[in-house]
C-alpha cells in the first residue's frame, strides 16, 4: 500500500515543527564561510568542502540552506554503491553533494567549492582502462 495518501493532521496550530521555530540560526553563518571559500577558489584555485553532517543543523536549517543557495545549471548523478547527486547551486562553483547508500539512505552530505567536483573527473587510471576497452572494440571491428 502507499502511504502517499496519509493525511493526518497532528498539529492543531498553523506552524510546522520545522519552520521558523526549528531554525537553529547556524545556517546563515555558513554563507559567510562559503563566500570565503569561493574567494580562495578564485585566488588560489583551491577547492574545499564543508561536511554538513558535522554541523549542528536541523532539517529545517538544511532546507533553508538549500533553498537559499538555489539551483544552478548542472546536476550530475553518480551511480555507484548507491546514488550520489552533485548539483551546482545558483552560485557557480558551489556544489551541493549528497551521497546515498545502496538502500537509498543519505550517508553523507557536503557543500563542495570547486570548479568541478573531484568525484566527477575521470581518473587517468580509469581513462587508461577505457582506452584499452576502446582499442579492444576497434580490434573487434577489424
Amino acid at each position: 500500500m502507499s502511504l502517499e495518501d496519509i493525511r493526518v493532521v497532528v498539529d492543531a496550530g498553523e506552524s510546522s515543527p520545522y519552520q521558523a521555530d526549528a531554525l537553529s540560526g547556524n545556517a546563515p553563518v555558513l554563507l559567510r564561510e562559503l563566500a570565503e571559500h569561493v574567494r580562495q577558489l578564485m585566488a588560489a584555485g583551491e577547492p574545499t568542502a564543508i561536511d554538513l553532517n558535522a554541523l549542528p543543523l536541523t532539517p529545517a536549517d538544511l532546507d533553508w540552506l538549500k533553498a537559499t543557495l538555489g539551483e544552478g545549471e548542472i546536476s550530475v548523478t553518480l551511480h555507484s554503491d548507491g546514488e550520489s547527486t552533485l548539483a551546482e547551486t545558483a552560485c557557480p562553483g558551489v556544489w551541493w553533494v549528497t551521497h546515498h547508500n545502496e538502500s537509498g539512505h543519505v550517508v553523507s552530505r557536503f557543500i563542495e567549492v570547486a570548479f568541478v567536483p573531484e568525484l566527477v573527473k575521470a581518473h587517468p587510471e580509469d581513462v587508461k582502462t577505457g582506452l584499452e576497452y576502446l582499442e579492444s572494440l576497434i580490434f573487434d571491428l577489424s
Binding site: P17, D51, L57, S80, S108, E112, H123, T129
Partner: protein, 363 residues
C-alpha cells in the same frame, strides 16, 4: 590513486569513484574534516593487498551474543564480505560449523598456525569469582582461555562494553566478579569498541582500519578509537538545537516528542556519552535511539548501568530525600542543644551582673 589494493578492487569492479565516495563518507562518519577523505583514499589505495587473509579468533565469555548479532548487521563492509574477502574468521562459536572437540581443535590449530599474527576479538566480560567457575567453555575458565589466546595475538579487540569495561555482569553488585579484558591483559595492544552492542559499522570499520594499515588506530584514554568515540552523542545530535533553545519533550508522546525536541529531561545520556550513533546511525542509517524517541542509555561509557537510572535527567541527584530529612533533624537537634547552652550562658552572665555604679567606670 594507485597501489595494489586499488588494483585488486578494480579487478573486482570497484571504480575509483566508488572508492573515493566510500572514503569521503567514512571521513564524515569519523567526524574528520572533508579533506581527510582524500588523504584516506590515497593511503588506503596504496596499502598492499594481502595474499593471505589475516586470521581472526573471536572468543565469547560472559556475553549475550548481541555483539555477534550486531556485526552481522554491518552493511559496508558486510560480515560475509569480511569473511570471504578480508579475514579468516577461524573461531566464532555462534557462526562456526564445527562443534565440541572439533571446534576446540580449530581454535588451537588457528592459534598455532598464526602465532603472533592473529587478531583476537573478545566479547563478554571475564568472571574472576569462584575461581572462574561462573563461566566455562570446554571445562576451561574464561580467564584461562583468554590468557592462552592472548599470548599469541598481535592485538586484541575488546568488542562491546562487557569486554571493554566489564559491562552488565560488572553492574552493581557484580555477583560473579566480572572484569574487562584490559583488567587482565597488560602486555598487548587492546582496542576497546564499547557499546551495548557497538554500532556494526564501527566494529567493521575499526577492523577494516586495522587490517588495512596493520596498526592500532588512535585511541582515547579509555582505549576507544578516537575516530568514532571522539565526540559526544549530544554534540552531533540532530536534536541539539532544541536543547539550545530550551525545548524539551516531557513525555514520550507529547507535542515536543512528536516534533523531535530534546530528550534531556527524559534522561538522555547523550551529553556524557562518546559514540558515533548520531552520525553513523543504526541499521544502514535507518534510525538511532534518539531519533526513535528514547534517550541515549550511555552504553559506550564505563559503568553506565550504575549511572543512576535511564529516565533520570543528568542534572538530577540520586536519592537525597532520606539524607535531607536526617540532616534536617540532626541540624535542628544541634540548634536546640546550642540554644540551651546559650540560654544557660546568658543566664549566668545575668546572674554575675553586679549593679553598675560610678566606681565601676574606673579601673
Amino acid at each position: 590513486m594507485q597501489g595494489p589494493l586499488i588494483d585488486t578492487l578494480a579487478r573486482r569492479g570497484v571504480t575509483r569513484r566508488t572508492f573515493f565516495k566510500y572514503c569521503a563518507t567514512l571521513a564524515s562518519l569519523m567526524a574528520l574534516p572533508p579533506s581527510a577523505g582524500r588523504a584516506m583514499a590515497e593511503a588506503m589505495a596504496a596499502a598492499p593487498a594481502a595474499s593471505r587473509r589475516p586470521s581472526v579468533i573471536w572468543l565469547p565469555f560472559q556475553e549475550c551474543t548481541g555483539c555477534t548479532e550486531s556485526i552481522t548487521r554491518s552493511h559496508s563492509p558486510s560480515i560475509e564480505g569480511l569473511i570471504f574477502d578480508a579475514i579468516s574468521l577461524d573461531y566464532q562459536e555462534t557462526l562456526m560449523a564445527a562443534a565440541g572437540h572439533q571446534a576446540e581443535e580449530a581454535l588451537h590449530h588457528a592459534m598455532k598456525e598464526n602465532e603472533g599474527k592473529y587478531l583476537l576479538i573478545v566479547d563478554g566480560s571475564i568472571p574472576l569469582g569462584l575461581d572462574g567457575a561462573y563461566s566455562c567453555i570446554a571445562g576451561k575458565t574464561n580467564l584461562e582461555a583468554l590468557k592462552e589466546a592472548a599470548k599469541g595475538a598481535a592485538a586484541i579487540v575488546a568488542m562491546g562494553s562487557c569486554a571493554a569495561f566489564g559491562g552488565i555482569p560488572k553492574a552493581n553488585p557484580n555477583p560473579t566478579g566480572a572484569v574487562s579484558v584490559s583488567d587482565i591483559i597488560k602486555d598487548k595492544p587492546i582496542i576497546n569498541i564499547p557499546g551495548c552492542p557497538p554500532i556494526p559499522v564501527v566494529m567493521t570499520g575499526v577492523l577494516a582500519h586495522y587490517l588495512t594499515f596493520g596498526t592500532v588506530p588512535e585511541l582515547d584514554k579509555l582505549g576507544r578509537p578516537k575516530a568514532f568515540y571522539g565526540e559526544t552523542i549530544h554534540d552531533r545530535c540532530y536534536r541539539r538545537p532544541f536543547y539550545d533553545q530550551g525545548k524539551f519533550a516531557k513525555t514520550f508522546d507529547d507535542e515536543g516528542a512528536r516534533k523531535g525536541w530534546c530528550l534531556f529531561e527524559l534522561g538522555c545520556k547523550g551529553p556524557v556519552t562518546y559514540n558515533a550513533c548520531a552520525t553513523v546511525k543504526w541499521n544502514a542509517g535507518t534510525s538511532w535511539p534518539v531519533e526513535s524517541g528514547h534517550g541515549c542509555l550511555g552504553c559506550s561509557e564505563p559503568d553506565f548501568w550504575d549511572g543512576g537510572g535511564f529516565y533520570r535527567a543528568l542534572s538530577r541527584p540520586a536519592d537525597p530525600l532520606k539524607m535531607a530529612a536526617t540532616a534536617a533533624a540532626v541540624g535542628a537537634a544541634a540548634g536546640v542543644a546550642i540554644t540551651f547552652a546559650n540560654r544557660a550562658k546568658k543566664s549566668s552572665a545575668k546572674a554575675a551582673h553586679e549593679t553598675v555604679t560610678l566606681a565601676d567606670l574606673e579601673k
